[in-house]
């Protein structure tokens, strides 16, 4: 079941100032803004990789005390994928199932289905090592690894940033296709406006540690905040 996320007066010294934000269960939100605007830090607060200096974070209405159980219900996809180099593709994907002590056959079946869906036929890729894969292939494995255990929350930190535009587009499509069947609350950090509008319904714009816009994705080009205008102009979106 997807979880709701709420920030109440959250600050991180020097980076975020008094953030108030509510994300409903099952929503897909994009965090967007310039580098250093605070979007990545906000994302990392959700699974405890960053700590607030002030304010409260609530997941499903409760402040998490121990992040480890929460992280096991949260998918985390990053640029560069962070795949374990000493494990095969299958072992990487099956990391969380193994940790959660799933049945071996169930892991196998789910991994197979996921990898096939993501365009990496299981028979060809299961026993390969990450270093023998291209950047795009690695990131597909990263996606599979993050969502195989049906997380309540899916956090993505510029996952397609280091890939070329064609591969990036393919992955965005694969991502949207997959996430429709996996019911999770999604927070997607990106600096690419077009990508934000493709993967999310709601876009939150950060500037200098504050939220300056929070609208439906398709309303964004019409927004009048200066930071948003600058983003739209830079992205040269078709209007």
């Amino acid at each position: 079941m997807p979880a709701s996320i709420e920030f109440r007066g959250v600050s991180v010294d020097g980076i975020l100032h008094d953030l108030d934000l509510r994300i409903g269960a099952g929503e897909a939100v994009a965090f967007i803004g310039r580098s250093g605007a605070g979007k990545t830090t906000s994302l990392r607060l959700i699974n405890g990789l960053a700590t607030p200096s002030r304010g409260t974070l609530l997941i499903d209405g409760a402040a998490p005390r121990d992040f480890i159980p929460l992280r096991r219900r949260t998918g985390y996809i990053i640029q560069g994928s962070g795949l374990f180099p000493h494990r095969t593709v299958y072992e990487n994907v099956a990391t969380l199932p193994r940790l959660l002590k799933w049945d071996e056959d169930k892991s196998r079946d789910d991994a197979k289905r996921l990898l096939d869906q993501l365009g990496l036929p299981f028979e060809k890729f299961a026993t390969r090592y990450p270093r023998s894969l291209s950047g795009g292939e690695q990131q597909r494995v990263g996606i599979a690894r993050a969502i195989i255990a049906r997380p309540e929350i899916l956090l993505c930190d510029e996952p397609f940033g280091a890939l070329d535009p064609i591969v990036r587009r393919e992955l965005q499509d694969a991502f949207t296709a997959i996430r429709e069947e996996r019911n999770a609350t999604i927070v997607f950090v990106t600096h690419d406006l077009a990508e934000a509008m493709r993967v999310a319904e709601r876009v939150i714009v950060f500037d200098q540690g504050r939220i300056v816009a929070d609208t439906a994705a398709r309303e964004l080009p019409r927004h009048d905040a200066p930071a948003v205008r600058a983003l739209v102009a830079a992205a040269s979106l078709p209007s």
Binding site: N47, L49, F67, I68, P69, L70, R71, R72, T74, Y76, I78, Q79, G80, S81, G82, L83, F84, P85, H86, T95, L96, L99, Y129, L155
Partner: protein, 200 residues
């Protein structure tokens, strides 16, 4: 004579093996601890480094008057060898663990690994080639340093070398030196093979 060589070789292998195993048991956890802490870890590395700079004969000599671990004989020799073997093991453990890609470590943390799981599932396996290299260096060094153990009654192949030097008897010297060199070579080759296997 060959019985002497066989016994001396056996003693030599034994004191080196015990010392290296204990150095691993102390050094790897110490290295893991030091890798996590920048300042205390740096201090620990400096201490271990300083021990290595003490000339081996002097270190054996220092240990003699210390109660429990000192005195004359194999036990003191093993203690000295452990101290000598620590630096390569600790340093290589630190390098190996710090060398784990930050994104890989973060992926593990984000997946909900406990610190212990992170250590055993991610950090140690990735640090293993470096750690084995450290063990290899420690072993080869220990085989050489162990020849000094004979000066304090520690046994081993050094006994033959010292006797040979005292009697100006080249055959005796070689009877000690050649097996020692062979042991060092074998250890180096075997461990390099293990390292290569691990780097895959």
């Amino acid at each position: 004579m060959s019985a002497n060589i066989a016994r001396a070789t056996g003693e030599h292998v034994m004191i080196v093996a015990i010392a290296v195993v204990v150095a691993i048991l102390i050094g790897v956890p110490l290295g893991v601890w030091a890798a996590r802490r920048a300042r205390a870890g740096g201090a620990a590395l400096r201490v271990v480094d300083a021990i290595q700079t003490i000339p081996s004969l002097a270190l054996f000599g220092f240990l003699i008057p210390i109660p429990f671990i000192g005195g004359i004989g194999m036990r003191t020799a093993i203690v000295a060898l452990i101290l000598y073997s620590l630096l390569p093991v600790v340093r290589n453990t630190v390098t190996g663990i710090r060398g784990v890609e930050p994104s890989v470590r973060e992926a593990g943390v984000a997946m909900g690994f406990t610190p212990r799981q992170l250590l055993f599932e991610v950090e140690l396996p990735l640090a293993m080639p470096s750690i084995v290299a450290g063990v290899r260096i420690a072993t080869v060094t220990a085989i050489g340093v162990a020849t000094i153990a004979a000066a304090i009654g520690g046994g081993g192949l050094g006994t033959l070398i010292f006797r040979g030097v005292a009697m100006v008897d080249t055959r005796l010297i070689l009877a000690g030196a050649l097996p020692a060199a062979a042991l060092a070579l074998i250890a180096d080759v075997v461990m390099t093979m293990i390292e290569r296997r691990l780097i895959r």
